[in-house]
């Protein structure tokens, strides 16, 4: 279990407990948090679960698989600290993670 904070682009913040093994995207969708769509259901093929991760967390995350960077090319306003939240698996180590959402996903 990890406490994860999702911050919308307008500053609204949602902190929820997410079970280990779920993805950060699923944590948002299951808790009805606006701003993360996950249209393709976690298949790394739509880039609508795009988030920004602060530097101190960014380095602690699982490395990007081939394909994630390609999908991020298509995301809305990608930055250096962009990730697809469907590729981040929740574990105790992610307790306290904060992700920021872009203005919109598409």
């Amino acid at each position: 279990m990890a406490k994860i904070t999702y911050v919308e682009h307008n500053g609204n913040s949602h902190t929820v407990n997410v079970e280990n093994g779920l993805s950060v995207m699923e944590g948002a969708v299951q808790n009805n948090i606006p701003g993360i769509d996950g249209d393709c259901g976690g298949g790394m093929s739509c880039a609508t679960c795009h988030v920004y991760v602060k530097e101190e967390w960014f380095d602690k995350l699982e490395k990007k698989l081939d394909g994630e960077e390609d999908m991020l090319d298509q995301a809305y306003e990608p930055k250096k600290n962009s990730r697809l939240s469907c590729q981040l698996t929740v574990s105790d180590e992610l307790d306290g993670l904060i992700v920021n959402m872009p203005d919109k996903q598409v």
Binding site: D37, E77, D103
Partner: protein, 339 residues
């Protein structure tokens, strides 16, 4: 106005198999899809990725699945209306009047929405100023490459579309190719060609840059691109092209008076009918307790929706359930010999 027993919106696997089910029971149908080819997400998002959970097919790719479904439709004469999006849906006595963005209209008692997560639309540039130049100086696809001759064209993107067009347009235009990182995901051979053209001065390459803003009074004059390190460059540009792939958007479906739940349409599990009589939703776009977003679920939903269509399309006939293995009528429809 095209009259039909059922109109299917969406030519993904669910829409294709539903067409088969309609034809088998003797109804005719037309299929509309916003993409320029059949296959839906299978063909657009994962043509090469293997799928392992289609019953009786241990493994197949999205492209193979689409091909097989189209093969299965071969005995039938089905009209596809590709590259068209259904925009309007209006009640007309016992029928629905359906209009596409290309001005085509249909009259049908049954509309089957097999729209996946919505229609595929190009991803657009984020700066607001871009909108005023869209379809004039800013494009997300190319219809007539002649307009670029002798002009300066700035192309954004890192995939095959961006690379292919950079190479092609560099023959007659000055081309800037701009991408947000150093690596490109397009084909190696094309990338080599781009590097060659860069050396010979035909293409100027800007990596780690993204579009910051566009400038011009009525017509586009230049663009600002911003480097990862915030440095800004101004590039003279007559045209800007963005190739960031496609995104699925629910689009006009949201305006048809259907009960929506997030981006899905609520249906019953007997006919997969929505809250509007004669409008059904099947596949990824429908929602009911226990819904699974699997292709096989879409097939089941389509088979049942097709039977429901029969009642409205043939109100004076009784539907009789038959097996393809034994029904003479079905075999005739399939054009195969009966024993």
């Amino acid at each position: 106005m095209i009259k039909t027993d059922a109109l299917i919106i969406g030519a993904g696997p669910t829409g294709l198999f539903t067409a088969h089910q309609l034809k088998i029971i003797g109804l005719d149908c037309e299929i509309v899809d916003n993409l320029d080819k059949a296959g839906g997400q299978c063909i657009e998002l994962y043509p090469d990725k293997p799928i392992y959970d289609i019953p009786a097919i241990p493994e197949c790719t999205g492209e193979e699945l689409t091909k097989n479904l189209l093969d299965q439709l071969k005995p039938f004469n089905i009209n596809f209306h590709l590259g068209e999006r259904v925009d309007e849906l209006k009640k007309n006595e016992n029928n629905w009047e359906v209009k596409t963005n290309k001005g085509k209209s249909f009259l049908t008692p049954n509309v089957i929405i097999a729209g996946g997560v919505g229609s595929f639309e190009p991803r657009r540039f984020s700066p607001k100023e871009c909108e005023q130049f869209e379809d004039k100086s800013i494009f997300y696809s190319i219809k007539n490459k002649k307009i670029f001759e002798g002009k300066t064209v700035s192309i954004f993107g890192g995939g095959d579309s961006a690379l292919d067009w950079a190479v092609e347009l560099s023959k007659n235009s000055k081309v800037n190719l701009i991408h947000r990182r150093d690596e490109f995901r397009g084909a190696h051979a094309t990338l080599d060609k781009v590097h060659e053209l860069q050396k010979s001065g035909k293409i100027e390459l800007f990596t780690k840059y993204q579009l910051k803003t566009v400038k011009g009074n009525g017509t586009l004059e230049s663009i600002d691109i911003e480097h990862e390190n915030k440095e800004i460059k101004n590039l003279k540009s007559d045209y800007v092209l963005g190739f960031f792939g496609l995104i699925m958007q629910l689009g006009p479906i949201a305006n048809w008076g259907l009960n929506l739940n997030k981006k899905t349409v609520e249906v019953d599990t007997e006919k997969f009918e929505t809250n509007q009589k004669g409008i059904y939703a099947i596949g990824d776009i429908c929602n009911y307790p226990g819904k699974l977003k699997l292709i096989l679920s879409g097939f089941h939903e389509g088979a049942l929706a097709a039977r429901a269509c029969f009642k409205l399309a043939r109100p004076n006939e009784k539907y009789r359930f038959e097996f393809t293995t034994s029904s003479k009528t079905i075999k005739e429809r399939l054009g195969v010999k009966s024993d």
